[in-house]
Amino acid sequence: MWFEEHIYLIVLIPFIGSFINGLNSFLGNRMPKRWVGWIACGAVFIPLLISIRGLFYLRSLPPADRAIESIVYTWIEVGNVHLDAGFLFDQLSCVMALVVTGVGFLIHVYSIGYMGHDSGYSRYFSYMNLFTFSMLLLVLGNNLLLMFVGWEGVGLCSYLLIGFWFDHKPNAVAGMKAFIVNRIGDFGFLIGILLLFVSLGLKGHWTLTFSELSEHSYLLGRGGVVTAIALCLFVGATGKSAQIPLYTWLPDAMAGPTPVSALIHAATMVTAGVYMIARMNFIYTASPAALAVVATVGAVTALYAGSIGLAQNDIKRVLAYSTVSQLGYMFLGVGVAAYAAGIFHLMTHAFFKGLLFLGAGSVIHAMSNRQDMREMGGLRSPLRVTYITFMTATLAIVGIFPFAGFFSKDEILWKTWASGHYGLWVIGFIGAGVTAFYMFRLVALTFFGKNRADAETQHHIHESPKVMLWPLVILAVLSFVGGWIGIPKGLGGNDAFHHWLEPVFSHASHEPGGEDLHATFSASGESFVATLPDADASHDTAADGLIAPVEEARAAIGSSELETQHGGAHNGDAEDHGLERFFAVISVLWVILCGFLGFRFYTKRIDIVNRLKGIAGGLIHRVIENKYYVDEIYQAAFVDNLLRTVKGCGIFDNLVIDGLVNGTAFFTKIFSFVTGLFDNSFIDGLVNAVANIVTATGQRLRVIQSGQIQGYLYFVFSITVLIICLKWLL
């Protein structure tokens, strides 16, 4: 009970930590440095403990009741909108909270060493805690808008931390790029939220709360508006999780301190998109078209980003493209409706990719902040612990049995195959080989051969302090054993991870198939969920190790397209087991082969590499090395055009709109000048003219009245003569 009432502490404590350290930084770093680190780590460690407690609490409940909602206060209540500041702690958010706080805690500890000499120490930890707060809000929020708050909050922290060393302009620009690209994604996300809210509202349920959404979303039917909603939300996911076409910010984001790359740009934030799709599974399951898009984008990104990773020389950039690629696998997983597999890979990836980045950080630390692998080499012996842990993570990401990555990645590929997406499977399979190649290339260049740095740097090479090594070791252990909680039945495990998550994804199954079907299911919603374990038991014999596809098939009662898709997956358990094992062996052999080649090429046979680079006149290599010129294309197509539009708008506003105003004023002035002139010269002129004429006439006539008698006589005489003449003439 204590836990149910105190879920909010998981979110609140990191915020308090952030506030304290932020205030300390604001007031000029008066607090002792040691305290700053303690507060920051404590502010993540306590939520970790509470989450662990939550895990045990959930386990103590029957599977159907393992979703705790705790409302803190009413957040927005206007018209049809009723949103609470509330938290949802279920199996999925429990996993996420554990990953965020667990990996987050280790990275915080590591940062104490890594950032120890930085003048912005307190500011750094304030941002890190703020990130943890936002991320926990994202995964624990009980409604979509609250999730969006966390969603943008992590974006803010990402912005702040990428540009942490903001005196170097490219860092600041990279931060800005990350935020704006994410905003483009968020634009789609926002439209998706609006569309979902209003569409479901028009059906009588104005809600954005996950529990209610999953209960009522069946009303939206399949396809159509659901597809639109799912795709809009997915646009947001491509931004946050760096998928095609919005992935370009992530490699640049490596400008931030390396622990930031580990926490935000590898382990947690970038996986938010995967989490979101898993959370909104009831929407995606109802839209096969949207799922197909998700899976395709994921698979293509996995291969595409991996291929760029082949030709990068910056150690962090290789890992960044690797992250994009691995995120692609997660999307492939959720895209074939194997949500649990996607989340599973999310978790193991958090372990090994976090470790890879921290290891890279240790290497960079040792190499006096050099990141170019061409200057590294032979670090195997001086950096013993770093090397061993890094190697563990490499084996995990490559997918060697029995490391964590093997189980999760292999499962995604298997589910892809089993659900009939053979083409995507091929892409994913090739991608796995690419992963092995670039990872072993990285290892070869960094840890093997001779060190290629200058003497000065070589002289300074040293293993990192203990505070940085312990997190490496713990993560290495997790990278090794982390996959064992999800060993599929086909490989002799019990698939605990999937059973754990299953209830979260199974409520998708009472949705399709029309209203009447729903009525029978949801009228007894709870009892239905309660019977799930039994349902599993019956299905276990039918399709061992195929929980997700089976679920989906169950979900697709009345939906023929899905049933035909999965038709192949029901051919009996023995064959499936055999096939699954066969695929596992094949993929392990395949990655060993690729890994070996990568290693061999970059240690002994650099000549082959050079020959490969020379193919087609070096064109291919150049294109890949320059990331397919996508940044340049975006710049030309979008940024430049936008700036042109902006400039045009500014000129238009100044010249045309304001010109109209000033023009009106100007013409009024001209007009008034003309009327003034008219008034002065014509109207007044007329008046004056009359006066002038009178005066002039008078003046002329005055001449006559001279007072001289002979003048008058002369005048009289002339007139008389004139009259006589006229009379005679007429």
């Binding site: 808008l145 903001f166 926002l190 439209i191 609006l194 708008c649 506003d653 709109i657």
Partner: protein, 499 residues
């Protein structure tokens, strides 16, 4: 017992102005402190209003009514409801803070504060008046001090800006005057049989008589009112006085201008156009929404084009006021509440932005965005405050701007789907120009000549921190403000939609 709280709110600054007027002109500090006192009491009263405001009724509260000019049936009639209460709070708060932002003014101190307090009276009066004539009087009262405050204490092009502002607003006033007279002559109080300026009475459509019952005149009246108010908001294409006035005005006046005066436009539409001409309002709703969308997008694009940071903030105001138009034209509870909340939020956020620009202008004596860089090094505290204001302006969730924008979107999406989607692009553009400005001014390396720039001082922090706290608070817990406004707004919405 009749409460005179609104009268005190309106006229206490005027009393302050009178006292300042008799203080010797070189007693600068005395003048400043008297002014602070003259705005502090209204702030205290406003807080009292906030506390004792009845959230459950849609009617007018704190009503005062006395006959003023018997021959024309004009009343001194005051009262506030959910539409105006947030504006009253905002006015009281910003006027108080702006006194402290005016501390640095050394030229004609006495005149400045007298005019400022007079302006305060005018603004407060506009938000409290329930008699059309009284409303008009306050509207004009506010105009004159503003003209002088820009024209005397402004920047290099102050006279141009002041005249532009004055003439533009006057044009609007004339149109409003005509409509006011139309309402007066074409109305009859059923009880007394007299013509009336009573805004509450005029809401009853059966009071309207003669030509005012014809749709043509009603539409003409609506348009005339719209132009009058649109100039104030300002709505495209009547907006170009705004950047000029903002850039030339001294910092506190820019704050008042953007924080309060702009709201009078949308307030006027909600207080007069909506209830008095509900049918015409419905007729022009789509038009209003389109104008909102244009404001959002066009304002953001123009903001991005600016080189002067104060002009940029001015254009961002145009963009943000577009959300108000979009929200209120949706005729949904979410939209209209979001619109009024946005009026309040924009008032606090943009006030912060202008204060922030003022801080750097006082130090560097220019506002050229490209002329700065790396200020975060030299002025870390200033940068933190700026970051809060900037992120609030770009609608970051957790800060107040997000709540109102989200509500506007939710409301507008129900009525105008495509318009809302297009408007939402503004969210991306806003992030663009805000972050770009942030990067150019605050990040990167510090220029040599700014190595000695002093950090933000206590007085400046005092003006900014309360606003930052409000921005945070409303973002996290908006209900106290929403509860204040929603009963009246839902009522108004029903009134207009006839539901």
């Amino acid at each position: 017992m009749v409460s005179h709280i609104l009268s005190w709110l309106i006229f206490f600054p005027l009393i302050g102005a009178a006292i300042v007027a008799i203080v010797p002109r070189h007693q600068h500090n005395l003048i400043r402190w008297i002014s602070a006192g003259a705005t502090a009491l209204p702030l205290a009263l406003a807080i009292k209003v906030f506390v004792s405001f009845d959230r459950t009724t849609s009617g007018f509260q704190f009503v005062e009514r006395t006959e003023w000019i018997r021959a024309f049936n004009i009343h001194y009639y005051l009262g506030i409801d959910g539409v105006s209460v947030t504006m009253v709070l905002l006015t009281a708060l910003l006027c108080f803070l702006c006194i402290f932002a005016s501390w640095g003014i050394t030229k004609g101190v006495k005149g400045f504060f007298v005019l400022f307090l007079l302006l305060d009276t005018g603004m407060m009066g506009v938000f409290c008046a329930l008699d059309f004539f009284l409303f008009y009087v306050f509207w004009e009262v506010m105009l004159l001090p503003m003209y002088f405050l820009i024209g005397i204490w402004g920047g290099p092009r102050r006279e141009y800006a002041a005249i532009k502002f004055f003439l533009y607003t006057l044009l609007g006033s004339v149109l409003m005057l005509l409509v006011m007279l139309a309402f007066y002559f074409f109305s009859r109080d059923p009880l007394t049989g007299k013509h009336t300026f009573d805004l509450v009475l005029l809401q009853q459509q059966n009071v309207h008589i003669g030509p005012l019952t014809s749709m043509t005149l009603r539409n003409v009246c609506w348009i005339a009112l719209y132009i009058g108010f649109a100039i104030k908001v300002p709505v495209f294409p009547f907006h170009t006085w705004l950047p000029d006035a903002h850039v030339e005005a001294p910092t506190p006046i820019s704050v008042i201008l953007a924080g309060i005066l702009l709201k009078m436009g949308t307030y006027g539409i909600l207080r007069i156009s909506y209830p008095l001409l509900p049918d015409a309002t419905r007729h022009f709703a789509l038009f209003l929404a389109v104008m909102g969308m244009i404001n959002i997008i066009y304002g953001a694009l123009c903001a991005m084009a600016q080189k002067d940071v104060k002009r940029l903030v001015a254009y961002s105001s145009i963009s943000h006021m577009g959300f108000v138009l979009l929200g209120m034209s949706s005729f949904t509870s979410e939209g209209i509440n979001g619109a009024v909340l946005q009026m309040f939020n924009h008032g606090t956020i943009t006030a912060m932005l202008f204060l922030i620009v003022g801080v750097i202008y006082d130090r560097a004596h220019h506002r050229d965005i490209e002329g700065f860089g790396g200020l975060a090094h030299q002025m870390p505290r200033y940068s933190v405050i700026t970051a809060i204001a900037f992120f609030a302006a770009l609608g970051l969730p957790g800060l107040s701007g997000f709540i109102s924008e989200a509500l506007v979107f939710i409301g507008a999406f129900q009525t105008y789907r495509m318009l809302t989607i297009v408007s939402a692009i503004g969210v991306v553009l806003t992030a663009g120009y805000i972050l770009w400005t942030m990067q150019r001014m605050f990040l990167g390396s510090l220029k040599e000549k700014y190595k000695a720039l002093p950090e933000i001082n206590g007085r400046e922090l005092f003006t900014l921190v309360p606003l930052a706290v409000i921005v945070f608070f409303v973002g996290v817990y908006p209900m106290p403000v929403l509860n204040l406004i929603k009963t009246s707004l839902d009522h108004l919405n029903k009134l207009v939609t006839g539901g």
